[in-house]
């Protein structure tokens, strides 16, 4: 098992990949992807039981990850490539014509590691429930992980899913919320306040864990607790910084959907060690 120190090195490369991908495409969503780098890396390089060399859509006997907030695809793509699902050099095609790395992820493009399309928000938690219940029917004791955005919590379907997962005791489902407090139009609190998000999930019957989303050890512990929680689903509220890792991008909604220019890219990359070799 890799140490957290090693995971930090991988996360640094993922952040570099994200920045170079959106810069190369002259567009994309770097903010959220940078903010979720630790989660992506922790799941794919330590927590998940999975088989990058031989991707199977069914995922039987493997942990499954569903990215519900599909716009942060650059983070997922980099992690999948670095984990060995497809060649790292393919990252250069993101958002370009004839690419398998579509703006938002989709199995329609036959990219190894992607099992569902996402982009239109609010659907991933429901999809994760289905995948988790299929595992129960298959007597498959692996888990399903779903990542959602915090702004995404404004979608009604999320709460249909939250109600269902508790009612049906879908305890092999672990949800994460990228709680960075930002959305396209500004701070969440101004656009549409979520109130006490943890309390809302508790009231729906979920186990709720709050962690700092950039601390591997805390995230790791939270996932362990979630796995041991039986009879109800768990949601892990990850307090994160949108744009984490690059000082001038962190903590603001301004980099939600904007690519850095040449100068900004160089300033950003200077803050992130190239640990695994750029694509």
């Amino acid at each position: 098992m890799p140490e957290h120190k090693e995971l930090e090195r991988i996360a640094s490369q993922v952040r570099r990949d994200v920045l170079r991908m959106v810069h190369g495409a002259k567009g994309g969503h770097p903010g959220g992807a940078l903010g979720c780098a630790e989660l992506f890396v922790l799941l794919y390089f330590k927590v998940m039981k999975h088989n990058p060399a031989k991707f199977s859509m069914d995922g039987i006997g493997e942990d499954i990850f569903i990215l519900s907030n599909g716009h942060i695809s650059a983070g997922l793509y980099s992690t999948l490539a670095r984990a060995g699902y497809f060649p790292v050099k393919e990252l250069a095609t993101h958002r370009k014509i004839n690419s398998r790395l579509q703006g938002h992820p989709t199995p329609h493009a036959h990219l190894e590691g992607v099992r569902i399309a996402s982009g239109s928000l609010g659907q991933g938690l429901s999809v994760g429930i289905g995948a988790a219940q299929a595992k129960k029917l298959n007597n498959d004791n692996t888990n399903v992980f779903v990542l959602m955005g915090d702004g995404e919590q404004q979608e009604g379907q999320v709460w249909e899913a939250a109600m269902y997962a508790a009612h049906h005791k879908v305890d092999n489902l672990i949800a994460f919320i990228d709680y960075n407090g930002q959305q396209i139009d500004g701070p969440l609190k101004e656009v549409m306040d979520l109130g006490d998000l943890g309390l809302k999930y508790k009231a729906f019957g979920w186990e709720v864990i709050e962690v700092i989303g950039h601390e591997f050890a805390a995230l790791d512990d939270a996932i362990l607790v979630a796995k041991q929680t039986k009879g109800k689903p768990t949601v892990i509220l990850m307090k994160t910084n949108m744009g984490q890792g690059v000082d001038f991008m962190a903590g603001t909604h301004k980099w939600h959907g904007v690519a850095p220019n040449d100068d900004e890219l160089q300033r950003a990359l200077a803050q992130l060690e190239e640990t695994l070799g750029d694509y």
Partner: protein, 319 residues
């Protein structure tokens, strides 16, 4: 005109429910999801016999469609069940992204389609669903015509890998197709061979087309009646072969003339072999409360309307 008789009337939704019971036994991967309409969708027996494979989702159709997409990831074959309106318009984006675009093997099964839902009125009488669903790339769209055909279609779509929309209805109607039929997706069924006009009918309108054929026969007109149970993929070959022989066509569906079977036939004919076409369907309007018979009469969806349309089509071809 070939003689069609029936000994009983049954609702097409019971064909769905009975097939599901059989599928529950024959195919362990078949699972059912229902949004608080288990009785209306005739799934009580499936629920009772296979409780671990029946998922009650409550009144949350969007959640139901996306959960179904997720279940396919574990190799399951999910059949979602609710009224046609809540199966399509209400959840279009979930179907588009989580099912169709994701290429998931989900069967969207929709009852109470069209005017024959009756007294509940226009909120529940969707007349746009065929159009909505046929517009989605890779979606198969099926609208069977009686109990037996619905039962056969339900079993057939379990074998087919890919997203399917299966549309059926509420009222008891004549059972006139064979109980032992093999349902072939995308293959039209020639109900009656004729030479004067081609009548292409789907769903509840097939029986009306048969009655129309009998009336036309009394007038000395030899109508070819073809059941287009699969709206997509459309059996273009059957349509073109028939119209080549008859020279004119009538389409009949319990659906808006915009976006339905009639438009698909119009496209096929205009691209390959233009010929006069008359369309029977609702005229870009909402429905209303009433008995099924009253509504079909008021909105022009009866055998007599098909007869009139046929006479008009024949007249146009002679000009």
């Amino acid at each position: 005109m070939k003689k069609y008789t029936f000994t009983e009337k049954k609702d097409t939704r019971s064909g769905f429910g009975d097939a599901m019971t059989e599928l529950g036994k024959s195919n362990p991967n078949v699972v059912a999801l229902c949004a608080d309409l288990t009785g209306s969708l005739k799934l009580e027996k499936f629920q009772q016999l296979y409780p671990e494979r029946f998922f009650q989702v409550g009144i949350a159709e969007a959640n139901m469609i996306s959960i179904a997409a997720g279940l396919t990831i574990g190799g399951k074959i999910p059949f979602t069940a609710t009224f046609a309106n809540f199966s399509t318009g209400r959840v279009y984006d979930q179907i588009r992204q989580s099912v169709a675009y994701s290429g998931k093997n989900v069967k969207i099964c929709a009852s109470h389609a069209g005017l024959t839902l009756g007294e509940d009125g226009a909120t529940h009488q969707i007349l746009e669903d065929l159009g909505l669903m046929k517009m989605l790339p890779e979606m198969v769209v099926i609208n069977p015509c009686d109990y037996n055909q619905t039962k056969a279609a339900t079993k057939a779509i379990a074998e087919y890998v890919g997203p399917v929309y299966l549309r059926f209805g509420r009222p008891a109607i004549p059972v006139f197709t064979a109980a032992d039929q093999v349902f072939e997706i995308g293959k039209a069924w020639t109900v009656n061979e004729g030479k004067d006009v081609s009548i292409f009918a789907t769903g509840h309108m097939v029986w009306e087309a048969i009655k129309a054929g009998e009336i036309l026969a009394e007038k000395g007109i030899d109508a070819e009646i073809i059941n287009i149970h699969t709206i997509k993929p459309l059996d273009e070959k059957a349509i073109l072969t028939s119209v080549k022989k008859t020279g004119c066509a009538v389409s009949a569906e319990e659906h808006n003339i915009l976006g339905g079977l009639g438009e698909s036939i119009a496209r096929t004919l205009s691209v390959h072999a233009p010929a006069p076409l008359e369309m029977i369907g609702t005229q870009d309007t909402f429905g209303e409360s009433g008995t099924p018979d009253q509504l079909m009469e008021k909105y022009g969806l009866t055998a007599n309307n098909i007869v009139e349309a046929s006479l008009k089509a024949i007249e146009r071809k002679r000009k």
